[in-house]
Every structure is written in C-alpha cells, then in structure tokens.
C-alpha cells in the first residue's frame, strides 16, 4: 500500500496489520522512531499523523492510507535542523538519546498547534513519555527554547514547511 511519509508517497510492501513503527524502520529505513515497549507506554516510537502525535508501535498501517505521516527525519537534517532539533542540540538535551526522537515529535505536535504553550502544557504533553537517563530538566528547557524559536516565525520544520 501507499503511505505518505515526510511529504513523499512511498509504496510499502507489508502486511496491513504491521504496526507503522516496523514499516518506518524496516521498509523505509528511517531510524528515528524507536522500539521501546510495543504497548504505547513509553513514547519512544512517537510520530505525527495528520498533526497528532501517535504511538507508531500500536498503529497498523492499514488505517494510515491517505494520511500525512511525519517522522523526526521530516523536521530537518544535521545540516538544517528544525527548531526543536536545533533547541535540543543547543540545550544538550540528551544523554543516551533513545527517547528523544519521540519527545521531539510530541513537542512538535504541541507547538504546531500552539507555539505559546505553557510550561504546564508542555509537561502534560510529555507525561506519556519516559526518559531513563534523567534528562527531563534539559528536555523541558529545549522545548521552551524551541517554542521561542517558533514564536519568532519558524514553522517547526526545516525541510518540509
């Protein structure tokens, strides 16, 4: 079936019941969405579908036809990072970094809706995401910094505005 990922239509040969996570990682060779629990409990696999943050580990591709799927790769590159990616680098908001792509995608969905989100809203949104290294304080700081960048006119995406 066809999936629209990061602005491109991609033909995918996979069982329609396959969760999006495995199709992103295996068929499309995208690294960012991570396997963490397969149960929608940790947030490491989070991507954006039609503007909403979703757990890609529990969404089968059969429900995703015609929808806009955005992964961390769709927000920017090392050379041209998006505002959240830039902010996470500037704040050095990672230790092992395994949870970070999911955090960024959840924050992206929030800030796309409301670049003026309060600290309390940011915490509430990230509540469904787990970080084990204890990088939380930096993650919050990075999301606030990105919000500032986006308020000043960034779309949140460097490659795919």
């Amino acid at each position: 079936m066809d999936l629209k990922v990061n602005g491109r239509i991609r033909a995918v040969d996979a069982d329609p019941q396959t969760p999006l996570l495995y199709v992103l990682r295996e068929n499309l060779q995208l690294n960012a969405a991570k396997y963490g629990c397969g149960l929608g409990q940790c947030g490491a696999c989070t991507v954006i579908v039609d503007g909403q943050a979703v757990f890609s580990c529990i969404v089968p591709i059969q429900v995703l036809g015609g929808k806009e799927i955005t992964t961390l790769e769709g927000l920017g590159t090392i050379e041209h990072p998006g505002p959240l990616q830039r902010a996470f680098m500037d704040e050095q908001a990672a230790q092992c970094g395994y949870c970070i792509p999911g955090m960024i995608m959840r924050a992206q969905a929030l800030l796309q809706r409301n670049a003026h989100a309060s600290d309390a809203e940011i915490r509430t949104q990230l509540q469904s995401h787990l970080c084990r290294c204890g990088t939380h304080v930096r993650i919050l700081r990075a999301v606030r910094r990105a919000a500032g960048l986006m308020q000043r006119g960034g779309s949140g995406s460097a490659v795919n505005p």
């Binding site: 230790q95 792509p101 995401h129």
Partner: protein, 759 residues
C-alpha cells in the same frame, strides 16, 4: 574448600585471565606480573595494572605502547583508541577533548575508535565511573608523550633544537616559518614505543579544549534520525530474530509444537536447544508474530523459587551470610551516650532501559562478528567464545551504542542470543531484538538490600560509636564465563552459573560506600554477603552506594535531630576532608540552607533535606540539597528545587559533568520514590511500564542546579555515579523535615506511605 576460599581461588583465575588478555592485547612480552591483591576489582570496572606496568598512569599499564592509543597516518589522519564505550554518558566527547588538548589536534580532525576487540585496548568494563580515570588518564599521557615524540622527530628533520619548536593544529612549528604537519613527520613505528611513567602534561592555564563545554559529538545524529544505535543497524541480507524465554527462572521446556509456526510467512528457522528457543524471520514483524505463536505453543514446567515479596527484607536476613568486617576502629571511649538504631531497606530495582536490548551477529564456519551495546567487549568475547566453542580470537566483538544501560542490563544476554542463533545460520546477519517484557523479566536486577545501623551520641553531640551492617547479594554477575549469560544457562548442555563473587574494598559491591567518610572514634562496618540469589542480580549504576548512602545519610539526619544540631553543621563537625567540606558548604550556600523553609515553620508542609557522599570514598564528591512540598489536598509530595555541588577533580567537560549529575539525581529520585521489581512465588510480574512505574514529567523538580567545585590540575575523579546516593537520602531527609515522619524503606512512595505521613 570453603565457599570463601573458592571465591578467592576464582579471583586468582581472574588474574590469570587478565594476564593473558594483557599479553594478547598488546604483544608486549616484557611486562612482569605480580598478583594484585584486589584483582577482581575489574569486575566492577576497576583496573589493576600489574608489575612494571603498574607505574604507568590510568589504563596505560594494560596496553603500554603509545600506538595502542594514538595513531597518526601519513595522510595526516589522527585516530585515538579507547577500550571504553559510549553509554550515553558523553565519554566519546570527553575523551576526544583530552586527546585534542594534549596532542594539539583540532577536535574535528580527530577520530575516536571505541571498544572493539580487534582495534582497541582491553579496558575491561565501561563501569564504576572509571572511564575518565582509566582511559582519560591513559589517553592524556599517551597523547602528550606522542606530541613530544613528534616534536623530537620534527627537530631531527628540521635540524632545529626541540625547545625552539612547538605543536599546534596538528603541526609542529619552528622559527622562520618552518613547519611540518604530523602527517609529514610521522614514520612507521614512530609511536610504537613504550609509554613512560611520567609525562609533562599541559597545565590547566594553557587549556583551550579541556574544561570547556564542548557540545557532545553524538547528539546531532541522535536528534535528526541518524543511525546512532545497534538497533539501527541494517546489514545486507539481515534476518530478524526473537527469543522465546521461559516464563520463570527455573522453568523447563517440556514440549513445543513447532510445525504450525514453521509454516508462518517469512519464517527462516526455529532454534531449539534445551530451554533456549528462538525464531528467525525475513521481516521484523513476522519474527514477532512467530515468537508469540511459538510462546503460546511452548509448554513449561515451572517451580516456585522466589521469596515472598511482602516479607522481602526478612527473607534476605534469613539467607545464609558470609560476614566480612570491612572497617573496625576501637578507641575504648566509654563516656555516657545516647543510642539510636534504625533499619533501612531497598527492593530489587530494574535498569529498565527505554530500548530493550539488541545485538547483531554474523557467523561463518568458525568465527563470529558481533555488534553489541555491552559494557565489556573483551569479557563478552570470552563468554561468546566459550558458548560457541570457539577460540576467543575467532570472536570479534564491537561496541555499538544502545539505549542507556545504567549497568549490567540485558545487553550481554542479547549478544549471546544473537551469536548462538547466528552460529546456526552462517553467512546471514542476525538482528536479535529483545521485547519489553523480556528485558523486564530477564535483566539482572540491582539487588535488594537491608542495612542496620546503631550509633551513640555523647553529651556534646558528637558521634561516639557507629555499628553498621549491610546485607546484600553480589553486585556483579557479568560475563566472563558463558554460564553468566542466559543462552549459556538455557542450552541443553548448559554451562554452570559461576559462583557469586565478593567485590572487594575499597570499591566494594553491596558494601560500596558502606564505610562512612566521617571521623568516628569507634566504628565497625560489616558486609553480610549473601551468596544465595533467588532473583537474578548484577550491577546497577552505583551498586551498593545508592542504598548505603541512603541509609548512612538518612541516619546522619536522625542523629542530628537527636543531637539538636543542624544537619549540615552536624556533618561538618564530623568531617575533616577539605574537599568534602567544600562541596557541602558550596551546596548549602547555593541552596540558601541557612534561610531555608523547613519543618512547616515558614510554610505548610515544606521541608528541606541534605546529603553528601564521596563515591566509593575515592571518586567524585557530591552533596545534594532538596526542597519538597507536601500537597495535602492532592495527596502528594512534590520536589520543588534541587541544588548540588560536585568535585570531580580536573573537569574535562563542565556541561557533561552537569548532565551526568542532573541525570543521577533524577534517576535516583525515580529509584528512591517509585521503583520496585514485582514478583510472585514463581515469576517476575513487573514486565511492562504499568507495573514498573518510573518518574514522569509531572514529578520533575522545577529546578535542578549543579555547581562544580573547580579543582583544576587535580586527577580526574569519575562522576557518573556520584549523585545517586546523596539524592536518595536528600529526598528522604526533606520528607522527614516536612512531615516529621522518617521513611526508611524504599520505595519511599510505596504502599502505606500516605497513611504514614498523613496525606
């Protein structure tokens, strides 16, 4: 032989292994050996250089030739080699800074190769906050000595006295514009010389790269979807494997009907060997579906072997113990005194890595290449070689990052699983990915522990004597032997599980940090080592220090209360070490301890807590102060503010230090407030995040400040595990200050806590 003497014998074998490893790793034949008294410290990540090499700084004794650490090619490429691995702690960045500084090579011109059995020195495990102390020190000296050699060689080529030359920007510069790049200077074997014990190092005043907050070199790829982890590896023709683990520790596979699973789409093979069961499929989701079907088809015979969780401390105290008195001081003081006593406990804790363990293996007829997020490529190579019946040099083990591990998680087991499956399918790369529930059920947990302390105060409020005992299993069951891996234990011809080993002082295991740093006229500290391990355990970040510092520093507050003293002043009156005093006073000042809100006096339910430790009594110093608020209506306690100070010797990357201490504090808050491995009489039951809750964003403090006490020019002191113990006690002390109730059993927010503190 007694059990204790067997363990001693095992230690001697260890030393033999390390001797061979040294010889193999370097080709050096001139090292003389002496039996080091604490050889098994390498279990905890410590390294004990032997004989002549013992005079060399850091890990240089393990690989004394400079070109084991630094290589310069004629094209100007500069490569540094470390046996340590990036675990998310930022060590690649810090080590690159060290080499850049001393070798005078710009950061972006420098490549760093990490733990790889065919390329890097054998530095044992990346553990115990040893990376900067061992590898950083070795690389610093090797880089400085290499720089000197390059200058001498340039002097010869330029016919100029070396004292008129200087190195900068990977080039040696001389008078009148004379210059030679390192690539132009270098000749084969120029750096194939033995390191010298003494090196003229750059002084801190001349640093341009060290002691600078250089951005982490690994973060850009991690936040843009670059291939950063072993989970991201995709080799041509790679197959996906899943293991089907037994439902409980001692379960035996009685029958399994594999025929229907074999017919599932994409299935390449099913591996059954005793209790080891795995599926291999073309696609990842096919492997998962087949794993589930195979698990449903398998019949196991299980046995109840686990203690009663509700009476865990009592169960631990009933286990047979081997007692080691690790500290004793008698002064014959008999002045009148008031006695206090308390018992503290900790349950089993999970590493709970966000990414379950993963490994990739590729076998041919008689060799295996393995990519793993193990903390020890060389010990893993030993385990895999034994498991597969290969010579160690036929196993090539390469570290690739995984999710943070925080000690011995499932990494080595997943590596063994991958290697075993790959050996059945030569020529096909095998990606073995553990599932969440497998990581939670089978990782070796941080041991449950009990500590009992009794002390007395003289009328002046000084501690007169101190009696401390800690009960714990071993804190390291890492490979080496194949029998320490699950695959090795589950195959039909199972390898014996190695006997548990006491990790000796001064670093210790269950008794790590059990000896207080305080000056006490009379004291006794006993490690009650429990060889029986009902639950699979091993090293969790900081080992016993988390529990021992929690107990000691909680009890120091109980004593301060008994003495009517301020907790900070009470600590200082028992502490002479000026560096310890400095982190305490820095923390107290930055926190505003003297004017703090506490005991409900300046606000309902607000309290502050303080704690201090020097990790292992020989690494970084750290003090932590916290302010908590009891929210009676919401029925919860919130941590509002945390201030810490750390003395980690010479700092390489100040932001890296802050990141590590912040992480240590947040992780310790999670362990201390929320966490407990669950089990019934047979099975581990906390197998997903709903049954093993950890700290979430709503509980993150409003601010966490980390202050670094500047110790420019002092040796590196590892800091990755310095904050866990103090953070645990600081929060317990803050809760006691706010509520008047002392909580002594972890997790502090366990069942019954609300009733205990009246919220």
């Amino acid at each position: 032989m007694t059990a204790a003497s067997k363990r001693l014998a095992a230690r001697k074998d260890d030393v033999n292994v390390s001797r061979r490893a040294v010889l193999r790793g370097t080709g050096a034949l001139i090292i003389s050996f002496a039996l080091p008294p604490l050889a098994s410290a390498r279990q905890a990540g410590g390294l004990e250089p032997v004989g002549a090499a013992a005079r060399l700084p850091g890990s240089l004794g393990r690989a004394p030739f400079l070109d084991a650490w630094i290589r310069i090619d004629a094209d100007g490429t500069v490569t540094a080699f470390t046996g340590k691995a990036e675990l998310g702690q930022g060590v690649k960045t810090a080590l690159t800074q060290v080499v850049s500084e001393e070798l005078e090579v710009p950061l972006d011109r420098l490549k760093l190769v990490t733990a790889d059995t065919e390329r890097t020195p054998d530095e044992g495990y990346t553990a115990g906050s040893h990376s900067l102390q061992d590898s950083g020190t070795a690389l610093r000296h090797a880089a400085a000595q290499a720089r000197e050699i390059l200058i001498l060689e340039a002097a010869r080529k330029l016919r100029t006295p070396p004292d008129r030359l200087k190195a900068a920007n990977a080039t040696v510069l001389g008078p009148n514009g004379a210059r030679l790049t390192y690539g132009e200077i270098v000749a084969p074997n120029l750096l194939h010389v033995q390191a010298r014990p003494v090196t003229p190092l750059k002084g801190p005043a001349r640093f341009t790269v060290m002691d600078r907050a250089i951005p982490r070199i690994d973060i850009p790829a991690k936040v843009t979807g670059g291939a950063a982890y072993v989970q991201d590896m995709r080799l041509p023709g790679m197959l996906h494997a899943r293991v089907v683990r037994p439902p409980s520790y001692r379960a035996q596979l009685t029958t399994v009907d594999m025929t229907s699973v074999e017919r599932m789409p994409g299935i390449v093979t099913i591996v059954r060997d005793g209790n080891f069961l795995a599926v291999v499929a073309e696609r990842e989701f096919q492997a998962i579906q087949a794993m589930r079907s195979l698990a449903a088809a398998a019949r196991w015979q299980e046995r109840p072997t686990l203690p009663k969780q509700s009476e865990l401390s009592a169960a631990l105290l009933k286990l047979p113990a081997e007692d080691f008195t690790i500290f004793e001081k008698r002064a014959g003081v008999t002045a009148p005194a008031t006695s206090l006593a308390a018992t503290y406990s900790r349950p089993y804790l999970a590493h709970a890595s966000i990414g379950p363990s993963c490994a990739v293996a590729l076998a041919d007829k008689d060799s295996v290449t393995l990519w793993s997020h193990t903390q020890g490529v060389y010990p893993d190579r030993q385990a895999i070689a034994e498991l597969l019946g290969l010579a160690p040099e036929k196993v090539h083990c390469i570290h690739v990052e995984g999710s943070g591990c925080y000690g011995h998680n499932g990494a080595d087991d997943a590596a063994a699983d991958a290697a075993l499956v790959a050996s059945r399918l030569p020529g096909r790369p095998i990606r073995m990915q553990w599932m969440r529930e497998q990581e939670f059920a089978w990782e070796p947990f941080g041991p449950a522990m009990v500590a009992r302390v009794r002390a007395s105060l003289d009328p002046s409020g000084q501690i007169r004597d101190w009696d401390y005992g800690v009960w714990s299993n071993t804190h390291a069951t890492r490979p080496g032997p194949a029998g320490s891996t699950l695959a090795g234990q589950h195959v039909e011809h199972a390898f014996p599980i190695p006997p548990p080993r006491v990790l000796p002082q001064p670093e210790g295991g269950g008794d790590r940090n059990a000896i207080p740093l305080y000056s006490l006229p009379q004291a006794k500290v006993v490690h009650h080592f429990l060889p029986t391990m009902p639950v699979r355990v091993s090293a969790l970040r900081s080992l016993g220090a988390h529990m021992n510092v929690f107990a000691i520093e909680s009890f120091m507050d109980e004593l301060a209360l008994g003495a009517g003293a301020d907790p900070v002043e009470f600590r200082l009156r028992h502490l002479q070490d000026p560096r310890a005093r400095d982190v305490i006073t820095t923390t107290a000042e930055r926190f505003g301890w003297a004017g703090r809100r506490h005991g409900g006096r300046k606000g309902p339910g607000t309290g502050c807590g303080f704690a201090f430790a020097r990790y292992k009594n020989l690494a970084a110093y750290c003090a932590v102060a916290m302010q908590v608020a009891v929210q009676y209506e919401a029925g919860r306690i919130r941590i509002e503010r945390v201030v810490a100070a750390v003395d980690t010797g010479q700092v390489v990357n100040p932001d890296g230090v802050r990141n590590q201490i912040e992480g240590a504090i947040l992780q310790s808050l999670s362990w201390t407030l929320y966490e407990k491995v669950g089990f019934d009489d047979t099975r581990i039951t906390s197998v997903d995040w709903s049954k093993y809750p950890i700290l979430r964003f709503d509980a993150v403090p409003d601010s966490v400040e980390v202050h670094i006490v500047d110790r420019a020019g002092e040796p590196f002191l590892g800091c990755g595990e310095a904050g866990q113990g103090p953070a645990a006690a600081a929060v317990a002390n803050a809760i006691a200050d706010a509520t008047g109730k002392r909580l002594r059993d972890l997790p502090l927010f366990g069942a019954g806590v609300k009733a205990a503190i009246g919220i």
